[in-house]
């Protein structure tokens, strides 16, 4: 097993990419703290983890609350004995085109997607620096290259890449790695709200000709969390079926 005896926190664990990451981590022998705002969905995922024979904690709360994040990290370390992996995945969308975007829509997305990721990154780095090992995986998006209607989201996700690079340089000397996953169009609830004609346009822009499966993103997270990627520092890897080969 590729993550045997490691302990992880996965934010946004109740659905989509986060949920897929949880199951793959459990299958690879990792113990996981599941973080999400949606308590019911979180309990459903936790029940499935138990079915797989895995062990997990649940942390229901909001990553914009620094006290909550601090407690989650402490609870993880005391339950599992270490914190080896953080998957900074929780994110929201509040789409609107520029001239219709409200200040609140801007603020909410930056608050959760960028500040929330910073909160988790900063809190998780404390035990990782002490134990002089760890792998932090931030989740950006190919929207960072620009996506109409997502001014707030693309700005936050671009910020996540810059944050990854800086954190990576700072943490490298403590043997803590920080890298980033940049998913393209992945078949999750976020996408299921989109109309069929828009889906068709999106699909046409993917050389592979289909949307990604959350599991395909989870496989990249396993790789970056494992000791197979010990020399990867500050990288952002697109998992997008070839949509953006930049």
């Amino acid at each position: 097993m590729r993550l045997k005896d490691k302990a992880a926190i996965v934010t946004g664990a109740a659905r989509g990419i986060g949920e897929a990451v949880v199951y793959r981590f459990i299958e690879e022998g990792c113990r996981v703290t599941l973080c999400d705002m949606d308590g019911d969905a979180l309990n459903t995922v936790a029940a499935k983890v138990k079915e797989l024979g895995g062990s997990c904690l649940t942390a229901m709360g909001n990553i914009t609350d620094r006290n909550f994040v601090q407690r989650m990290v402490e609870d993880t370390v005391s339950a599992f004995g270490s914190l080896d992996i953080l998957v900074n995945n929780a994110a929201i969308t509040r789409d609107a085109i520029l001239h219709k975007m409200s200040e609140q829509q801007w603020d909410e997305v930056i608050e959760v997607n960028l500040k929330g990721s910073f909160n988790c990154l900063q809190a998780a780095a404390i035990p990782m620096r002490q134990q002089q090992s760890g792998s932090i995986i931030n989740v950006s998006s190919t929207s960072r290259f620009g996506n109409p209607g997502q001014l707030n989201y693309s700005a936050a996700k671009g910020g996540v890449v810059a944050m990854t690079r800086t954190a990576a340089i700072e943490l490298a000397r403590k043997n803590v790695r920080c890298n980033c996953i940049s998913p393209g169009t992945i078949w999750t609830d976020m996408l299921k709200a989109v109309t069929e004609s828009v889906l068709e346009t999106l699909r046409a822009g993917i050389p592979l000709g289909r949307f990604g499966d959350p599991k395909e993103v989870a496989e990249l997270a396993v790789f970056l969390a494992s000791d197979e990627s010990t020399y990867l520092i500050g990288q952002t890897i697109n998992v997008d079926g070839g949509s953006f080969m930049i």
Binding site: M1, R2, R24, E27, E28, R165, A168, I169, A172, R173, N175, G184, P207, L208, G209, G212, D213, E216, V217, E219, L220, V222, F223, E228, S229, T230, Y231, L232, I233, G234, Q235, I237, N238, V239, D240, G241, G242, M245
Partner: protein, 252 residues
Amino acid sequence: MSLEICLDGKVAVVTGAGRGIGKAIAVALAQAGADLVLAARTTSQLVETAKEIHALGRRALDVPTDVTSKDQVEQLMAQAVNKMGGLHILVNNAATMAPAALVEQTEEDWDKVLDVNLKSMFLCTQAAARYFIDARYGKIINMASTGGMIAGPMNASYHASKAGCILFTKSVAVELIRYNINVNAVGPGFVDTALVDQFVQKKTRSSMTKFIPIRRFANPVEIAKPVVFLASDLSSYLVGEHVVIDGGLTVL
């Protein structure tokens, strides 16, 4: 339950497999369960790599090959298919270097570097792709370099060849994905190999380490394991990516 990355039943061709990163890749692929076809010019080194792979209980075929020769490359792929029963993975790893000041670089050396590092990728990819397209399956991993992203003096031929490799990878990736062939690249930074020992003095080496956030050169295994990931079906949604493995060198 999924276990370690599994390449059981797959046949991989690795060029430049006699030493350094290529040898580490060949061994790592064999550890994951693949059978190997090893290509390089120097027979004695290939035999050594083959021995290590046999010791892992995998098949290994050593094929002395000049990767700049179209005929020899076509022979290589044909032997993989005929003697090993298939061809699933190609790792374009063979490379060379001829550092020199621009005004002193000979045309011969320029051609040699571009032929070994870039033209070989075209020849090997073309020859392998014919089998991959028929099978509607294939994984191609090209060895690029951080030298293809950032510049340095006295080595223009190498930098040009590796920059070419990155865009070659992306162009071929977008063309071949319709046949279920994943093409990606890996970009190592400074790695502990004989090539580095040959061209980099010890003093220079320790001053270079200061520019690497992780403060050390890579072990070849740290390049080989990501190649195994890209050679597996776990990376099915990665298309035309250049995965940089440099300890943060190009991030700083």
